[in-house]
Point group: C2
Chain length 286, copies 2
């Protein structure tokens, strides 16, 4: 089984490396070709073009930023679609609009290419450690065909339903996570303004009904003004924009989603885009 992988970014590169380590026959492609170098050192082949990568792969994976990126990589001039083989499988692991995944899947079905949306959670740390959460949407046989690949990249692997449902689950994940992050940020702000000891407060609050991954992992970073990026403000804001659009499509008024989207947009506009998402707290601290 020959695997093609497009997108050697912060997430894609370590994910592809884990596929190599698991023994998969891997060909990679990146717009900026130099980013493929670490993968080639590790044994990957590099494709000269997207159609060439598609033509030599049984399963093609993309890991790029947003809906227009996936559309361009797939259907743009010199895109994957020009080379995808009948009876091959296309797996998009990017976080994009669920409705776009449904459209893309329909276009590929006309070429007898199977489609899976399989976005991930866990950030750069999870990608490097092969501990991602993978939420996959599509036909179950297609999911099962890709399972050994997912197992090389992640630990929590869930088939969520038909095409688009992986992305819908991912957007729910981002809604819940962003509100948890806001809770952690406001908790740390009050702690600091009240002159409480941050370590003691976080210890007390992390042990009961207020416990969250965000509080345990990003609370201490916020308290110590460590703004290093595990997951960036820019990508969190992008995911919340997709979540807002999705709520609008569903006809849901979600005041929490609206608030975190507004706050992360302010954080982006304040120049914190490439900082870690815990930098949300910088909206209020000097």
């Amino acid at each position: 089984m020959r695997i093609g992988f497009v997108g050697m970014g912060i997430m894609g590169a370590p994910m592809a490396l884990n596929l190599l380590r698991a023994g998969f026959d891997l060909t990679v492609y990146n717009r900026t070709a130099s980013k493929c170098a670490p993968l080639m050192s590790a044994g990957a082949k590099q494709a000269e073009s997207l159609p060439a990568l598609a033509a030599s792969s049984d399963i093609v994976i993309t890991m790029v930023s947003d809906t227009p990126d996936v559309e361009a990589v797939l259907f743009g001039n010199g895109g994957l679609a020009e080379g995808l083989k009948p009876y091959s499988t296309f797996v998009d692991m990017s976080t994009i609009a669920p409705s776009a995944a449904v459209r893309f899947a329909a276009r590929l079905r006309n070429r007898t290419v199977d489609y899976l949306d399989a976005p991930v959670s866990g950030g750069e740390t999870g990608a490097k450690a092969a501990k991602l959460s993978i939420m996959a949407g599509g036909d179950r046989p297609v999911f099962e065909r890709c399972l050994s690949l997912f197992q090389a990249m992640g630990t929590s692997i869930v088939h969520t339903g038909p095409t688009g449902s992986g992305l819908k689950t991912k957007l729910i994940n981002q809604i819940v996570g962003a509100l948890n992050l806001l809770g952690a940020a406001e908790g740390v702000r009050v702690c600091q303004a009240a002159g409480l000891d941050a370590a003691t407060t976080l210890q007390a609050v992390s042990s009961g009904a207020a416990a969250s991954w965000m509080l345990s992992n990003l609370g201490p970073k916020m308290a110590s003004r460590d703004y290093s990026a595990g997951f960036s403000i820019r990508l969190q804001q992008k995911d919340l924009r997709l979540a807002m659009e999705f709520c609008r499509e569903l006809g849901i008024d979600a005041p929490g989603v609206a608030l975190v989207f507004e706050l992360f947009t302010r954080a982006l506009e304040s120049g914190f885009g490439e900082s870690g998402n815990q930098s949300l707290i910088r909206l209020w601290s000097a």
Copy 2:
């Protein structure tokens, strides 16, 4: 060491019972005296009045609802203060305004009575199982004097700093928890509106960066429309009102706190006061 306990409500009764089980000499009091019956069956004495309870106790504990309740029990006509012995200790485990605790402590210091604010988290389940989180503020020797009592009622016991800091920590706990709860509620709403399977979605979302106690414990209840009360909307709204007042005192503009306070107030006004706090989701579901 003789212990007095005032307030045999949903929380106070099981907490007092755990003190009895640990072998403490316990006298109880409740405004509605009949609520003391289960404690008396278990071996507690019942005081005829608050001053009588205070006069026969080395440590007096109160577990009531709000700031005015503590003030009335302590300093009202026929209140505890009329009987509290010099060199005794008063421990308020209710969730009230931190600034009120500082005032009450000063008044008791004039009578040579030590004061500890020691609010709890964990709800009725935690109270019954003796697994509360206890956040105590006051002088360390006073805290240490009460430690064996706390160990009979809770598992996470943290000395947070001087008088009032237990309550400040508790309000931070409530801020973080309420925003996590909103995250869980909006996640479940989107899941249902999108027609996703709730169990699968919760499984996928609970395993990564969006994980929280609220999502794991109240997400499934929201999805199955189980509105039974572990912690009520009425008390959650009261705690968020205290948190709002505290943010105002600190000069903090906290948009997340403001939003959850508004939403829990709407839930209270919608008649969900005695339902579990997961009933927040009923604001949007039929």
